[in-house]
């Protein structure tokens, strides 16, 4: 994507890492504040059961948001992640109900995710389509394919081991949250400590300059979209386990939640700015808003308003800090 001449007014030099730390610190502060307020306001928030619930509820969007972040750092966008989640719930439940052993079913499902991501890479790199368009097209088409496969109905998964996984925990931590860790650790290494991460930022900042510096720009773009779709497929497996159903439309609209989490977590939609922990925090902030509102028995419609308002406030202060730094 072209790097826009943004009117970046007066950006004084500053340490990037420091800044990232600062930003994530302030998000941690927001999250902590919410935790403290909710612990005071309700007797139920700070209970192990609820914290487990929260960990489970935020887990899926968190993983989607991490994948989305890779793409956004390259100055792209992946609108299809919600549709991929829905589609892969169909695939994995079809396979499992078809008698395929669970590990193989999961592997195949993840490969389907990889294939979708590779298709996005192809569309962008080879066909020259804007990311918004190619992923909007797959959003639409995948829904159709998923509905067609199931003839519009929902597949119920009868394998209790598979559905039990999402309910289970290990060392007191819900299994779904373990998946977040399993995704986040390599993601941090990839993005923040490997050369490939540096290339991702470079492509997001100026693909031509990256290319002339020997970066395999096409490869980087393929990688970003494959990782995003792979994360979505992982979430598809998690969701199939959690709801016990395969249904192509059940994650409709999650792409916006993932993008919102990522942006709340400090990712810039212009590319070249973002972290792994940002979107994780963003996703759990959104989950906490919903959980807290439920516990406080706030009218569910207020949750929309609060979420919208908080998105504005958090991103606003983030921008302020950025400009000040």
């Amino acid at each position: 994507m072209s790097q826009k001449t943004t009117t970046q007014g007066e950006i004084a030099p500053r340490r990037k890492l420091n800044f990232n730390n600062l930003l994530s610190l302030s998000l941690v502060a927001v999250l902590l504040l919410m935790f403290i307020l909710l612990s005071i306001a309700t007797t139920t928030f700070a209970t192990p059961g609820n914290i487990s619930n929260l960990a489970r509820q935020g887990a899926m969007i968190a993983i989607l948001a991490v994948g989305e972040t890779f793409v956004i750092i390259t100055a792209g966008i992946d609108l299809s992640v919600g549709a991929i989640v829905g589609f892969t719930t169909v695939i994995v439940s079809l396979l499992i109900e078809g008698g395929v052993p669970v590990p193989i079913a999961i592997t195949i499902t993840l490969l389907v995710g990889v294939a979708i991501g590779a298709f996005h890479g192809f569309g962008i790199v080879r066909m020259g389509l804007p990311p918004f368009i190619i992923t909007l097209a797959t959003l639409t088409a995948l829904q159709g394919v998923g509905l067609l496969i199931t003839n519009g109905s929902t597949i119920n998964i009868t394998n209790d081991d598979f559905t039990g996984f999402s309910r289970g925990e290990f060392l007191g931590i819900p299994n779904l949250f373990w998946i977040v860790i399993v995704v986040a650790v390599p993601a941090v290494i990839y993005l923040h400590f490997s050369k490939y991460g540096r290339y991702l930022y470079a492509v997001g900042s100026n693909p031509e300059a990256a290319r002339l510096s020997g970066v395999n720009v096409r490869g980087v773009i393929y990688t970003a979209y494959i990782l995003s779709a792979l994360c979505a497929a992982v979430v598809g497996v998690m969701l199939a386990s959690r709801t016990g159903t395969g249904n192509a439309t059940q994650a409709n609209g999650w792409e916006l939640q993932a993008i919102a989490s990522s942006v709340i977590g400090g990712t810039s939609l212009f590319g070249a700015v973002g972290t792994v922990w940002g979107p994780l925090l963003g996703a759990f902030i959104l989950a906490t808003i919903r959980n807290g509102a439920n516990l406080l028995n706030v009218n569910s419609f207020w949750q929309y308003i609060i979420t919208g308002g908080l998105i504005i406030i958090i991103v606003y202060f983030d921008q302020l800090r950025r400009r000040k730094r």
Binding site: S194, K195, R198
Partner: protein
């Protein structure tokens, strides 16, 4: 917009001593940088006033304060005796202050005419008079002697041509005070000559000109007075007749340099690369070779096809026919990585579009080509990453707060140093520098030329592209003149006169 505005006083006026614009204790701080420190300066009506200074001295910042682009931190601006706020570009334009900025600031998606009339469109009954505007713009361009079409999209022009459009635009808006920030950086001699003619004409019409340049001969050719900035402070103002190049350089960098163009005698080694009859998009039938220890210059007008040639050689664009021989072996360079792996480095001409990731850190930019070598196992060695970046920053004296500062916060010349710096420790054998000293101050230029010598001494070869003839002339062991995508002449070190080379390049 009317065509060239005629000065109020008929027949032109001599530079008067009446100040048109006075700067009083003008001060600008960016968070972390004190870019201008309490500058007092006054510009006289109808003079050409040059401003010189090192990269990062604050020249562009000064211009941005005068044109309302940035708000000033403190200080006063007095326009024709009255204090003015001058806080928006709109206000500056209304007063008659216009600028041609260091980087072209126009809309690539609009036509040349639309750009020239932007903000000042001709309308009838609220509807745009498009055809009229194209005709009028064309008239202005023709009158200025710029041989450019008004009806095409701006993005169809080269950077130099775009810069001329920006100039035409600024010159024709009822301008009383016109600022040029390194206008010739992307212009050929021929285009520069057109520009100078325009500047003299404007001066004759009573327009005050502020002229920023790193090229001393331009300053002496044009200016009435010259002011020197150093580290955000005004060092002094001189009448042009009362000073010389050495004094100015000493004022700028607080020391003197004997000689800008530095060339050691280095014995030539084996042939590194040989291009045989290469053709591709924008160039045809080019043959040349580079030996270890040799600088091969490519001179020509903008659009002559030199950049197209070298970027193709670097694998960015396909080569249609011909052969490349690298260290005696025929090779096929299919992409940039092939070139880099062979040992070729390219510092491209446009730092903004090709050279830099502007919103990434200086260190990140410097290290980009070498992350492979900074990687230990899976992860990058943080220590090596730091050391490598810091070494380049020190060696090239890149003026930056730290290696983590974003590239876009650096001054133009310092950005250019990053583009060069990222290849210096790469260990390449053939360095291609495409307009390496555009916007670079004299002191740094001298450093860069010394660097060339150091590279050559280590056995490297250099292809040097420049539209600035003296650079090629003084440095290249051999150089090729390009015209319209073809190689029209080849000469040895200082073998022929400037005039002959120019006429070869222009084709008269």
């Amino acid at each position: 917009m009317n065509a060239l505005n005629v000065a109020e006083a008929a027949g032109g006026i001599a530079p008067s001593s009446v100040p048109i614009l006075e700067l009083r204790k003008l001060d600008k701080r960016f968070t972390g940088t004190h870019a201008l420190k309490s500058v007092d300066l006054s510009f006289r009506r109808g003079e050409i006033h040059a401003i010189v200074g090192e990269n990062g001295a604050g020249k562009s910042t000064l211009i941005k304060l005068l044109t309302g682009v940035h708000p000033r931190t403190s200080g006063e601006l007095v326009w024709l005796g009255a204090t003015v706020p001058l806080s928006t570009p709109h206000e500056a334009i209304a007063l008659g202050i216009n600028a041609v900025h260091q980087e072209v600031v126009l809309c690539p998606h609009l036509t040349v005419a639309a750009n020239m009339f932007l903000g000042d469109e001709e309308v009838r009954y609220g509807l745009l008079k498009n055809r009229q505007m194209v005709a009028d713009a064309q008239k202005v361009l023709d009158e200025l002697g710029f041989n450019l079409p008004a009806g095409v999209l701006l993005s169809d022009l080269t950077i130099g041509q775009q810069q001329l459009i920006a100039t035409a635009r600024a010159a024709t808006r009822g301008t009383k005070f016109l600022i040029f920030d390194e206008p010739t950086a992307y212009l050929t001699r021929q285009e520069a000559a057109q520009l100078f003619a325009l500047i003299r004409r404007l001066k004759a019409e009573g327009v005050t000109i502020v002229y920023i340049s790193h090229r001393m001969e331009e300053v002496f050719e044009l200016a009435d007075r010259v002011s020197v900035l150093r580290d955000g402070q005004l060092v002094g103002t001189r009448d042009i007749d009362a000073t010389d190049e050495n004094e100015l350089i000493a004022m700028m960098i607080n020391r003197s340099i004997e000689q800008v163009y530095h060339k050691d005698t280095i014995p030539l080694g084996a042939t590194l690369i040989e291009a045989k009859n290469l053709s591709g998009e924008g160039f045809e039938d080019i043959s040349l070779s580079v030996r270890a220890g040799e600088i091969v210059g490519l001179y020509g007008l903008i659009g002559a096809g030199r950049s197209e040639f070298v970027t193709s050689l670097f694998g960015r664009h396909p080569i249609k026919s011909g052969e490349v021989v690298w260290e005696g072996r025929p090779v096929r360079i299919r992409n940039e990585r092939d070139a880099i792996n062979l040992g070729i480095a390219l510092a491209p001409e446009s730092r903004r579009d090709q050279g830099l990731c502007l919103n990434l850190g200086v260190g990140h930019n410097i290290n980009l080509p070498v992350y492979d070598r900074l990687t230990k196992g899976v992860t990058i060695s943080a220590r090596m990453e730091k050391e490598h970046a810091d070494r380049q920053i020190q060696d090239l004296r890149i003026k930056t707060q730290s290696r983590n500062a974003l590239a876009l916060s650096l001054s133009g010349g310092n950005q250019q140093k990053i583009v060069i710096g990222k290849w210096l420790n790469h260990g390449a054998k053939l360095f291609i520098f495409d307009e390496p000293t555009v916007g670079v101050d004299v002191g740094t230029k001298a450093e860069i030329y010394r660097l060339f010598s150091a590279l050559l001494a280590k056995g490297a070869g250099i292809i040097l592209i420049s539209s600035y003839l003296p650079e090629v002339y003084e440095l290249a062991d051999q150089f090729h003149v390009f015209r319209a995508g073809r190689q029209v002449a080849t000469h040895g070190f200082k073998a022929v006169s400037h005039e002959q080379i120019l006429s070869e390049a222009i084709g008269v």
